[in-house]
Structures are given as C-alpha cells and as structure tokens.
C-alpha cells in the first residue's frame, strides 16, 4: 500500500509534467514571435560590458536600437570604430567615421593647489564635498580623492600628483567619471583636440593666485596671441572654442601660469619668445620701411 502511494505520486507528477510540457511546446509554436535575426548578431559585436555609456539599457538595448535605426551604427563608445565596422558589416551599411571621444579633467592644481583644511574623512570626493566643499582652498578644482578612479570600469583614470588624469588610450568615453565628479570638471572631448585650459576657477586673478600657483588668472595673454579667435576669457577663466582651435599651441607658450595643456618646456618658451621678438622686430622694420617709403613719396609729390 505504501509503495503504491509512492508510485502514484511519482506517476501523477510525471504525467502532469509531460502534459504541461506538451502544452507549453504547442504554445511556443502558436505564440512564436519573430525576432529580428540581426539583433543577436549585432549584440555579438558589442563588448558586453553593459556600461550604459550609449544611453541605452545595456548592450541588448543598444543592439535592438541599432537594428531598428534608433541608434547610429557607431553608437557604442566602448567598442569604438572596431565594433562599428563589424556592426556595419552585419547590417550592410557604411559607417561614418566619427572622432573618438575621450574624457578630460579640466584641472591641473593637485599639489600646486593649496589646502584650506586637513581632510581625514571618507576618501571619496562626494563625501568630502559635503564638508565645506572639500579640503582644497580652490572650490572649483579637483580634490584628488579619486571617486572618478573608482567609477571607471576600464582603469583609464588615475590620480597623478594629486589630480585626476585620463589615460586616453584606455578611455572609452563611457561618461561614468563625468557624472561622478562632484566638481563637474571632467568632460568628453574629441581625441584629436590636444590643447586644453586645465583650470575652471572663475575667481579674479589675485584670488586665484592665493589658492593655486597653476590657476588661470584671466590675463587674456592667450586671447591676444590666438590667431584663430579660438580662446577667450569668459567669467574670469580662459575657454577654448574646440570648433575653432587648430592645435597650434601658441597660447600654451604665452600662458604665464602654464595652465594650458600641453605645458611647454622652458626651452620651447625661450624659443617662442625669441621668435616673437624677431617677429616684432621684423614688424617694426617693416613699419619703418613703410613710413620711410611714404615720406619719400610725399617728398616726391612735392
């Protein structure tokens, strides 16, 4: 009798299972939805980090969006051109070559920026920010506590000499550091742009000098030197118009604070000064020659 119960129990569940399995099998056929077969193919080309850098919910979301045409083929900032090419091959379209974007930290204060307090709390920028806007005397710049370092899933940003620095080779422009930074001093820029003003302090010159030896004092030397109208002092801090900048690096050489990247060496600066002096002399000579010519002409006219 006992044995019979066991057999009944097993048999009943077994039969129920089989009946349900058949039902589900039939339902799967009846209610089958045609999934665009290109979606999984596109999904395979994506890195699968699910970082959300593209603005879609994970790689699956982007793959579906690309196939439906809601996102560009090169929508994945992580996979970059390589992934875009593969996806383009899957979909059979041409890929428009886009500039690779990288994150950039607009501060070069670090050890040159004075501390106003000794912060011993949680080593996190957002935590430090709550204690009187952080330990640095400059309220605009990098605190160097590395919240961006922790946010980066690609090991592409590090604290070097007290200030965050992006490793452009590793950066995939996912934007995690940009949204993490409480000071909002990290931005995405095109990789081909090499000249950056690494300061965002909007205070007046003397105030800036008090808190940081590397800060922009708004002296407008760069503005005067630029031949392409690409750099302007706005709200007390120089700002580059990346559409106009031609990477000529003239502004970097005249900056008295060395806060425009790439910072020139002393040699380069001296060379530039020499060149400037020569140019000035040449201009002066030219002006003089013109004046003489005009005088001679006037004399002739008489």
């Amino acid at each position: 009798m006992d044995m019979q119960n066991v057999i009944y129990a097993v048999a009943v569940l077994f039969i129920m299972g089989i009946v349900f399995a058949i039902l589900l099998g039939v339902a799967a056929k009846v209610f089958a939805v045609e999934v665009d077969e290109r979606v999984p193919l596109v999904r395979e080309c994506l890195p699968g980090a699910n970082c959300g850098g593209c603005g879609f919910p994970g790689c699956d979301g982007l793959a579906a969006a690309i196939v439906e045409g809601r996102a560009p083929v090169n929508g994945c900032p992580v996979g970059g051109a390589a992934a875009a090419e593969k996806i383009a091959k899957v979909l059979g379209v041409e890929v428009a070559a886009g500039d690779r974007q990288v994150a950039h930290v607009y501060c070069n204060g670090g050890c040159n920026a004075k501390d106003k307090a000794n912060y011993e709390g949680l080593q996190d920028c957002n935590a430090a920010m709550r204690v009187a806007s952080g330990p640095k005397a400059c309220s605009f710049g990098c605190m160097g506590l590395g919240s961006c370092v922790k946010a980066c899933a690609f090991d592409a940003i590090h604290i070097v000499d007290g200030v965050a620095k992006v490793d452009t080779d590793k950066c995939v422009a996912c934007g995690k550091c940009v949204s993490t930074c409480p000071k909002k001093i990290i931005n995405l820029v095109s990789e081909v742009k090499k000249v950056h003003v690494n300061c965002v302090n909007k205070d007046k010159g003397p105030e800036v000098m008090k808190v940081c030896s590397n800060g922009c004092i708004g002296c407008k030397m760069c503005e005067k030197t630029c031949k392409f109208d690409a750099i302007h002092v706005v709200d007390g801090v120089a700002k580059i118009d990346y559409d106009k900048c031609k990477n000529c690096k003239m502004c970097t050489k005249v900056c008295p604070k060395g806060c425009i990247e790439p910072v020139p060496t002393e040699e380069e600066k001296a060379k530039f000064k020499e060149m400037q002096a020569k140019q000035a002399a040449a201009a002066k000579a030219k002006a003089e020659a013109a004046k003489q010519a005009a005088e001679a002409k006037a004399a002739e006219d008489k």
Binding site: Y8, A9, V12, F20, L23, L24, A27, F31
Partner: protein, 203 residues
C-alpha cells in the same frame, strides 16, 4: 467518486471577494508577494500592468489548481502533494502567459521584464491557490477569490506606486532615506491604514 466542496451562495461569494480585496489584502495585511510589490512599483503604469498580470495568473491558477486538487490529487489520496503540484501548475501558467504577452502585448511584456517570470515564484499566487483548498471553497468561489486577491494586489501596488511617484518627484527627504528606505516607510504606513479594514464585518 469526487468529493467536491459544497456550492456557495451569492452573499458568501461577495463577502469573500470584499474580504480578499480589503480585509485580508495579500500584500498589506498578509505580507505575501512583497518582492514584486517593491520591484515594479516605481511607475503607476507598470504597476497597473503588473497588477493585471497577477489578476490574470491568480484567476487561472486558482481554477487550475482547484481542478488539479479535486480531480487528480484527492481521488488518488495525494493531498500531501499539493504544494509541489501547484508550483508545477503555476510555473506552467506563467510561462504560458509570458509567451502570450510577448505575442499580444509586447510593450507590456518589455515593461514587466524580469517580474513576469517572478510571478512564478510569487508567494501570493501559491498562497491564493492553497487558501482556496484549505477553506474548501467551491469552484466559483475559488475563481472569485483568485480574481479578488489579484484585485487586492493591484489596488495595493497601484496605490503604492502613485505614492512613490509623488515621493520621487516632490519630496525633499533626507539623503539617507532616499530610495528604498523611504519606500519601506511609505509601505508600512499604507499597511497600517489597511489595518483599518480589519474591523469591517459583512453581513
């Protein structure tokens, strides 16, 4: 051959429904099905969709499990297999509903996402199925109880979702309470207000 429960009168069924919706509300009084209650209550639209899915699944699960209990398990003396058999029935039903939704209502399907499969393991559904049997409701009674329990679930989750929407949009709650903590507080208050229904006696 079959020992079916006695049929129920209309008043019985009505009071059963009201009790299931308000007095013994599955989430706020019995605390069953809290996972999806917190998971899908961020937006009122999705909450409503989830509620509809639960009503649907609960109704079918009640009917199917009733049939399984009285036509298969009881005659064979396998009443003790109830839980396993019901889990099997509910899992199959949810799979079926998922396939159906994917075909018929793709937007609702993607909105519910992971929570549709989670109905499978939603204790409220199993709870409703088991309550039907332990209270020996008739077939109609079970069906009504299943629907009413689902309606109670929907009522709770929609109320809660609208509170949460308002909380996210307007409140300036302390940072340490943001997100889940304040939701739990809100849920507790809502549950307390539902305790008011416990004094409700019908006929």
């Amino acid at each position: 051959m079959f020992n079916l429960p006695a049929s129920m009168g209309l008043t019985d069924i009505l009071s059963l429904a009201i009790a299931a919706i308000l007095v013994n509300n599955y989430i706020l009084v019995q605390f069953l099905g809290c996972c999806s209650f917190f998971g899908v209550s961020k937006k009122t639209d999705t909450a409503l969709g989830m509620g509809m899915a639960v009503i649907f699944v609960m109704a079918i699960a009640s009917a199917a499990s009733w049939a399984v209990q009285y036509f298969i398990l009881e005659p064979l003396g396998l009443g003790y297999m109830q839980t396993i058999a019901f889990i099997l029935v509910i899992a199959t039903l949810v799979q079926f509903v998922e396939m159906f939704m994917k075909k018929a209502m793709p937007s609702l399907y993607s909105a519910l996402g992971i929570f549709l499969p989670l109905i499978t393991t939603n204790c409220a559904v199993l709870g409703a199925a088991k309550t039907n049997i332990s209270n020996s409701y008739s077939f109609i009674g079970s069906l009504v109880y299943g629907v009413a329990a689902g309606v109670g679930y929907t009522l709770a989750i929609v109320l809660f979702a609208s509170i949460r929407e308002r909380l996210d949009a307007t409140s300036k709650c302390p940072k340490c309470f943001e997100g889940f903590p304040i939701s739990l507080v809100a849920a507790a208050l809502l549950a307390m207000s539902f305790m008011g229904f416990s004094g409700l006696s019908i006929w």
